[in-house]
């Protein structure tokens, strides 16, 4: 794999994440709720793992 390919890949990823950072906050909020759902689901599937925080919950919000 050549270095130019890797550099292009890195540059494109950087642009992608920078664009993601500019997403409107209201959209980011929805993403956070979805991430909470996924994270809680994974926690529940690994219930025996130490360090599980029972206080963590999905926010119950209308918007």
């Amino acid at each position: 794999m050549n270095n130019e390919y890797l550099k292009n890949l890195s540059d494109h990823k950087s642009v992608f994440h920078k664009k993601g950072a500019k997403t409107p906050y209201e959209e980011k909020f929805k993403i956070i709720i979805e991430l909470q759902k996924m994270s809680i689901e994974m926690q529940n599937r690994n219930a025996k793992r130490p360090g599980r925080d029972k206080k963590r919950c999905v926010w119950r919000v209308e918007n």
Binding site: S14, H17, K18, E26, K28, M38, C57, W59, V61
Partner: protein, 168 residues
């Protein structure tokens, strides 16, 4: 979150809070891509030295009157666990003084500026803070002059140098 912000703003109207700003993860994600977080941190100025042993007591009384459940340091306000943090050091205090007025969900609110959030992350030095701080440099377009000025003012040069050598 709209209802949560409206409820928090009512604390200003009631004179329970003098000033507040969104901090922590929910402030960071205003400037960078979001990742998972479970609470809404607020830096608050209660504008009074009274009740210094229980400075947040008025907020907890307000929560009880409004049927907002409390769980240790969190108050569940309209579905979101909110943590009220007093200005715990000069950096945080200055960050609050210089917080930015914005509108979220059509509600006026206040949020810490990115350069102050970065300095606080550098000061706090939790693994999650470092991970997000790296992303601030690549995603948030911070003002380098302003950031360096804050770093110098609050004696964070060594921590920043160590961070930069390791991660940037």
């Amino acid at each position: 979150m709209k209802k949560t912000l409206i409820a928090i703003n009512s604390l200003l109207d009631l004179g329970i809070l003098k000033k507040y700003a969104i901090a922590g993860g929910m402030a960071q994600f205003y400037y960078i891509e979001p990742s998972v977080t479970y609470d809404l941190d607020l830096i608050v100025n209660i504008g009074s030295e009274e009740n210094s042993l229980t400075p947040l007591s008025q907020i907890y009384t307000w929560a009880e009157k409004n049927n907002y459940l409390t769980d240790n340091e969190h108050i569940m306000i309209e579905g979101i666990p909110v943590q009220f943090l007093l200005e715990y050091n000069p950096l945080v205090s200055e960050a609050l003084d210089n917080s930015r007025n914005i509108s979220l969900f059509e509600v006026n609110t206040s949020i810490l500026e990115p350069e102050y959030l970065m300095a606080i992350m550098l000061q706090t030095r939790r693994p999650a803070d470092y991970e997000r701080l790296i992303r601030f440099f690549s995603e948030a377009d911070p003002d380098p002059v302003k950031f360096n000025s804050i770093i110098n003012k609050f004696g964070l040069e060594e921590k920043y140098d160590a961070f930069r050598r390791r991660f940037l």
